[in-house]
Structures are given as structure tokens and as C-alpha cells.
């Protein structure tokens, strides 16, 4: 049960978003532009993977499953493949640039100061642009907010991971603006 009375039974972030629609609007707008806007040189799948990985590091069950399922949908891989990336992205079949960006995201999750100049150089050496580095840091930072919002209010999450996989195609199509 959530720490406060949300006046609804919606799972995860949808509960507090329905409780306070005024703050839900910019939260969804931020997710939409960072994760879904087509004016971006990182694919939707790559951006969802950054969100998934940070949510996994923050141990947020709801977010890592929602975004893991979306990453799987875009990248055409199943839960076990997404789990393998979360477990050890360096050994996964990802581009060297994505590995460098995921390493930056992991440092952001620990704290902004953990990002080193060497990590940034490594990402640039693999072709990452300034905007891609910016977006990686901001996506990781945003999930440090979303994950805390979800778990800090003690929201509930459907335990069946297939629930998230089944919903992913519709979420991918409709986007985040309509998620409440």
C-alpha cells in the first residue's frame, strides 16, 4: 500500500501521477521528449535501455520492468536478453558507443561527481556527440527522480513481469503524454 492515500489503484508512477495531474504533465512531457522524440540521434530503444539500466541500479521494480519491456519492444529482444544487459552490459551485443554511454549513466546513478573526464573521452572516441552525452546524463538523472518518486511513496507494482511486456507495444505507440 502506498504511503499516502492516492485515491486510485493504478500501479507504479501512474498512481501519484493521477493523484496530482498538475505535476504529472511536465513529468510526462520530460519523458516524452527525452525518450520518444524522433529528433534524436539515439534510437528510442537505446534511450529506453539507459532508463532501464538506471532503474535497475536503483532497484526500482516498476520502472525497470516498464522501460525494460519498452527497450525490448524497440530493440526486438526478450526479457532474458534485457536482463543479461542489466547484469553485464559490457559483455552484451551493444555498440561500443552504447557501452560507453551506459557506463556514464551508471556513474550518474551513483552521483554526478562520479562521472569522469575519461568516461566522457571514451564516449567521444566511440563517436558520441555532445548532445548524446548531454541526453545520457539527463536521462539517467531523470530516472533517479522517477525511481525515487515511485519508491519514495511506496507505490505498488504488478509482480508478473509479463504484464509489462504485454503493455509495451501500446505504450510505444501512444507515448507518455497519455500515460495517466
Amino acid at each position: 500500500m502506498a504511503h499516502i492515500d492516492l485515491n486510485n489503484d493504478l500501479p507504479g508512477i501512474r498512481g501519484p501521477m493521477a493523484y496530482r495531474p498538475e505535476t504529472a504533465e511536465p513529468l510526462n512531457a520530460l519523458a516524452e521528449i527525452l525518450l520518444r522524440d524522433d529528433n534524436n540521434t539515439l534510437t528510442r530503444g537505446e534511450r529506453e535501455l539507459i532508463g532501464t539500466y538506471v532503474s535497475y541500479l536503483n532497484d526500482c521494480f516498476f520502472c525497470q520492468n516498464v522501460h525494460g519491456a519498452l527497450a525490448g519492444h524497440y530493440l526486438q529482444c526478450d526479457i532474458s536478453q534485457i536482463d543479461a544487459i542489466k547484469d553485464d552490459f559490457r559483455s552484451a551485443e551493444l555498440s561500443p558507443k552504447m557501452k560507453a554511454l551506459l557506463s556514464i549513466a551508471a556513474s550518474v546513478q551513483k552521483g554526478g561527481k562520479h562521472v569522469t573526464a575519461e568516461q566522457i573521452e571514451a564516449a567521444r572516441a566511440q563517436g558520441a556527440t555532445d548532445v548524446e552525452i548531454h541526453d545520457t546524463v539527463l536521462i539517467a538523472a531523470s530516472f533517479c527522480m522517477f525511481n525515487r518518486y515511485v519508491d519514495g511513496l511506496g507505490t505498488w507494482a504488478p509482480p508478473d513481469r509479463q504484464f509489462y511486456v504485454d503493455r509495451a507495444p501500446r505504450r510505444a505507440e501512444e507515448g507518455y503524454q497519455s500515460s495517466v
Binding site: 499516502i4 496530482r20 511536465p26 520530460l30 521528449i33 556513474s107 562521472v115 573526464a117 533517479c144 519514495g152
Partner: protein, 186 residues
């Protein structure tokens, strides 16, 4: 030196919000609603929540900015200094102590917030909405602090910067100034 090319006259978050204005817009809107919108918490109390989280995350820019903003609203600088050192002995209400503790737990991790932290706040008169907003303000500053330090943004050269910034945040809030920020160039 910042990891990406931001305008030199805009230190900390101010340069990042101009670097990518389309992502800045919802971040600004969320901050404006949470810190300046209608609330049973005063603006000073909400700036203290931002200060405690930024201080706990050791983000120098955000801590200095929101300390200065809290000081302007509270019209003194003792309270902001005390909450950064020890919440329990700070000159704030029992309700604010409980909310600041929740903010500090959120900063550690969402999972660090336990039923007893919530129960204490409710017993001290905090409403569900005040608890909700405290959690979201702290979570939002976990975003800001990581954004500012993750891209290694600069601190201002001039120590008077934060006083001017706090005036601006008090008088104009968190939305982008219509004329932009070119007038701040030396």
C-alpha cells in the same frame, strides 16, 4: 571545465537549461509548480527541502543557489544553515523536521523511506499532499544535482552571483526569462 560546451556566462544549471531549451521547459514547469505553486508549505519551507537534498548530494551550485533562495524568503540565514548541519536541532516546526527527514531519505533512495518516517510526518500534521510534494521535490533535486555535476558545470567566479540568482528566483520564479540571459554577459 564542463564536459559539454555551455555558454561561459551561465554557470551551473543555468547553462544547461539554455543548452537544450526543449528539455528545460518541462523541468522548469515542474519546479515552478512544486516550489512556487499554490501549497500549504511556504516558499521558504520548500526551498529548505531543495537545500537539504542538494546539500546531501554535495552539489555545491544547487546548495548555494537554494540556500540563498531560502534565506530571501525566510528573511534570515540561520535556518538554512542549521538544517544542513542537523535537521533535528534546527529552528523549524516538528512537521518540517519530519518532512526534511523524508526528503533526506528520498535522496538516499526511494526505498529508504519507511512507514515510520511517514507516520511521524502525519502525526505532526503533514497532509498527504505535503508528503507527496516533499518526495517529488527531493526526487527532482536528485535529478538537478546529477545533471549539474554529471556534466561538470562551472561554479560562478563571482560570489555575489547567488544573491542575484536568488533575487531572480524570488521575483520571476523558475520559468525562462522572456528576454533570455544575454544581459548577464560581462
Amino acid at each position: 571545465m564542463p564536459h559539454i560546451a555551455v555558454e561561459e556566462h551561465l554557470p551551473g544549471i543555468t547553462g544547461l537549461l539554455e543548452y537544450r531549451k526543449d528539455t528545460a521547459q518541462p523541468i522548469r514547469e515542474l519546479t515552478q509548480i512544486l516550489l512556487r505553486g499554490q501549497s500549504t508549505l511556504t516558499e521558504g519551507e520548500r526551498e529548505l527541502i531543495a537545500t537539504v537534498t542538494s546539500n546531501g548530494n554535495q552539489c555545491r551550485f544547487c546548495t548555494a543557489a537554494h540556500t540563498a533562495a531560502a534565506d530571501i524568503f525566510l528573511d534570515e540565514n540561520k535556518t538554512s544553515s542549521c538544517v544542513k548541519t542537523d535537521i533535528e536541532s534546527a529552528p523549524v516546526s516538528e512537521k518540517m523536521k519530519a518532512l526534511l527527514v523524508i526528503a533526506d531519505k528520498v535522496r538516499e533512495s526511494g526505498k529508504s523511506v519507511k512507514p515510520e518516517h511517514i507516520a511521524r510526518a502525519k502525526a505532526a500534521g503533514a497532509t498527504d499532499l505535503e508528503i507527496h510534494d516533499t518526495v517529488l521535490i527531493s526526487a527532482l533535486f536528485c535529478l538537478y544535482n546529477r545533471y549539474v555535476d554529471g556534466l561538470a558545470t562551472a561554479l560562478p567566479d563571482n560570489p555575489t552571483f547567488f544573491g542575484y540568482l536568488a533575487e531572480r528566483l524570488k521575483n520571476h520564479g523558475y520559468m525562462r526569462l522572456p528576454q533570455g540571459y544575454d544581459h548577464l554577459k560581462k
